[in-house]
Subunit: 578 residues, 2 copies
Amino acid sequence: MRLSPARYLPVLDWGRRYDRGALSNDLIAAVIVTIMLIPQSLAYALLAGLPPEAGIYASIAPILLYAVFGTSRALAVGPVAVVSLLTASAVGQVAEQGTAGYAVAALTLAGLSGAFLLLLGVFRLGFLANFLSHPVIAGFITASGILIATSQLKHILGVEAHGHTLIEMVGSLLAHIGQINPITVIIGGAATAFLFWVRRGLKPLLRRMGAGPLLADVATKAGPVAAVVVTTLAVWAFGLAERGVDIVGEVPQALPPLTLPGFAPDLIRQLAIPAILISIIGFVESISVAQTLAAKKRQRIDPDQELIGLGAANLGAAFTGGYPVTGGFARSVVNFDAGAETPAAGAFTAIGLAFAAVALTPLVYYLPNATLAATIVVAVLSLVDLSILRRTWDYSRADFAAVAATILLTLALGVEIGVGSGVILSIALHLIKTSKPHVAEVGLVPGSHHFRNIDRHDVATDPAILSLRIDESLYFVNARFLEDLIQDRVTDGCAVRHVILMCSAVNEIDFSALESLEAVNERLRDMRIGLHLSEVKGPVMDRLKTTHFIDHLNGQVFLSQYDAWRALSTAPPSNAAE
Amino acid sequence: MRLSPARYLPVLDWGRRYDRGALSNDLIAAVIVTIMLIPQSLAYALLAGLPPEAGIYASIAPILLYAVFGTSRALAVGPVAVVSLLTASAVGQVAEQGTAGYAVAALTLAGLSGAFLLLLGVFRLGFLANFLSHPVIAGFITASGILIATSQLKHILGVEAHGHTLIEMVGSLLAHIGQINPITVIIGGAATAFLFWVRRGLKPLLRRMGAGPLLADVATKAGPVAAVVVTTLAVWAFGLAERGVDIVGEVPQALPPLTLPGFAPDLIRQLAIPAILISIIGFVESISVAQTLAAKKRQRIDPDQELIGLGAANLGAAFTGGYPVTGGFARSVVNFDAGAETPAAGAFTAIGLAFAAVALTPLVYYLPNATLAATIVVAVLSLVDLSILRRTWDYSRADFAAVAATILLTLALGVEIGVGSGVILSIALHLIKTSKPHVAEVGLVPGSHHFRNIDRHDVATDPAILSLRIDESLYFVNARFLEDLIQDRVTDGCAVRHVILMCSAVNEIDFSALESLEAVNERLRDMRIGLHLSEVKGPVMDRLKTTHFIDHLNGQVFLSQYDAWRALSTAPPSNAAE
């Protein structure tokens, strides 16, 4: 670990080598990302239940802070879909949407999340995020995509509806179906259809028409901007706001304000668990993107420093009118593809958004919420990937169970219970799997020094010797399994005089397993049967040597299984000598 | 699995071969155990907060039922210290001691525990008990011993006191210290001192005087009976009960009554978690004793059938005025040492106790509670073993942490939180350990086909090849670790052209790890570096073949690390040819 300032301030590293070429690349990337971010920020704020400016504010200070503290060259930090949904779910439980308390709760959530990420980073605890298995993450993202898309239907239909689970949402939509606003439906439906077409059909079309890949890509990403411009103009020109179409309305024309998160102990207690969840899910999303992009340029990401960068970004959001943020997939890829070389591109994007906040906000007054909802629906449906169910089913039933439980419980009971259950289930299934490890009885492959499973290979055995290869570390969850197994094997046939445990795949023996081995040793001694070990790994043997187990062992420790066999077998050596 | 009736009724197996020799041995053992059990049963009932007869009733039907369904030849089932403490703690939370509700709650606890054990047995889920690691059990037993001994001080001092944690108990004792009854203190103190002497000093003395080991042992075990007789006579002769010495008093002179546990949903909800805890702890205690004794005679215990035996015993306790029971260590060892050959010894013990319940209960009217408390204190202090702290400290800090946390939390916050925290901590520490597995960079040992850690051995390496041996199964908790590790190793030095993962100790690759390997594969391809695997185990390879990973692998799978080295190394082959 380097303890130089550059360890905690990566900006000192890349900033020193910054030159004109990098500057121009970063500027171009910033312009492209800024254009894409304006509608996206407004839309995600809508999803989080916050006023539209919160989305823009959440993209300014956080980006700047990440540029100073983060290690990824291309990561773009700001509001993202899943974190916005988690924010809506958490804040909705402590305050009424639209109230001042709601905004303060969102700031508090960002502050808690920032503090938690910073703590994890400073204490280098980033590995805790690994407790979220890939199946749980995949299941959660898919279920979240479905939840988010459903939650936006109310804006596209122009009705009031609430709820944090799929059943609540659908029920509420059906209950309000009579209030549908036809003009809103037309705007929302057209925007959705247009954006789907842009995503699926425009790029191939442009490529066929001879456009370069970058141009086709930029045009595709600009689709939401086009939808925003056209529908805003339509609402303004035809006075649709007076005919019941919900619009964004007044957005303060100002730089991000200085704000304070809440410090009430009660509020902090209520938001602590959601903040931890948001931090970990945000971190997992961010680090995956950052590592994928860094690998393409053979750069290095420091996960613990990433926690500090994201922590600083979230604290920044908490004090400048934002809400929880993380490194987003879509915007980071655009940033990377547009040629961003350093975090300075992010800083320029922040300047662009600050300009938008000051100068462009009056232009979105007539922007219909239905258009924003359409951009969200189209974006999140690309997250929905039910093929994970089939892929895990094919590979492993335990992983399938984790995915299926996470999806079902997230949809039925909400995001927090869904992810929590997924994590607990995947840990439980793993422990249960290791509680009954694969144990092979092995024999000597004729003409070699190798030992293989007697059920799979034609090998030499000796009725007086039971050789067991244990394919798992020995620890408390499977310690008794070994006791039972040996007890089972040596009481049935009485010819066994020696038991050899082949430990080539035993990476650890914990205290429980040590006591089980001692018990096995005692029992075998009572039966006048020897207990021997072979191929014990160095670190495992080092630890066993600190105990009296080896001294009391009713047998020997052999370097290799072949040595053990040679020393103990009384069978004719014909096979081994072949 | 045999599906014959003998599978579920082991009595059919041993009953068929029962003969006169076994009968006489079983009868002798039964007489010895009965004498020992009478004071013990009364004492444990006192500990559980129940009337004295409950302890005797809990030893009759349960023993008979275990004789029919259990697989151990020597296990003696009945009330034990730790389960009595757990009963007092659980039942004390739903009813006032001394009320009818308290007794019904104890019956209900036994009924729930019996039902839970039966379910575990029928579904063969006995392995779930393994989630209690040895350090957690040892810490729990030690802390329980301290709690139990402290809880009995009130009887020895003759004061009123309450509490379920050490602090509560000591505080309550200090608050009532003024009420001390001097005569009770003399009886309790003398009985305690006598029993300690019997345990420590009597046996060596008798042996020195020429007594046989069995006689010395029986005399030692009869110590509590002697203390009971002498103090009872003293209370009766000197009329001490009128001078404030608490006595057992009236005990119904009858066979066990038929009783019904409570079926109120509220009661069941409150007792469900304690019942599960009691079941698992009781099962762990019982199976350890049963296996140790069975091994001495090369007999076999079926853990799942043991669950059924213990479940039947607890259901028996629930319907005959008892409370939760399990196979006790002390009584089983006495039974075994006295020569019990079959579960019939248990049945004869039950008959002996039934006789005691009918004929002998008037004799214990003047028995002082202080004497019973003394027998408990002396018995449980032998459970306290603080050396476990030093032993685990020497062996592994993680195991030490689990022991220390279990002891401290059990003493400070009570038995349920103590055990629960111990289990969670030991699982978390195990997962954290496997989250940063040992990975060795290996090189070729000159003159052999073996590969060893380059940091420990003088081995041949090739700057273009990075060979990593991963000493752990790859699963979600450490999947990202591998990604980071490889990313870290191949960005620093650019000479690496091939990465070889040596998988001899990888017992599993789960879906998360598969996706991480796919990501590693992608990134290495972007860097034009090959990814190869060697020594992949059969079951792991079978599973990988169900995916496209092997097809897309940016390298090859080699049977052995040596094959990989030979195929990829461009270094002069001098070392390998030596």
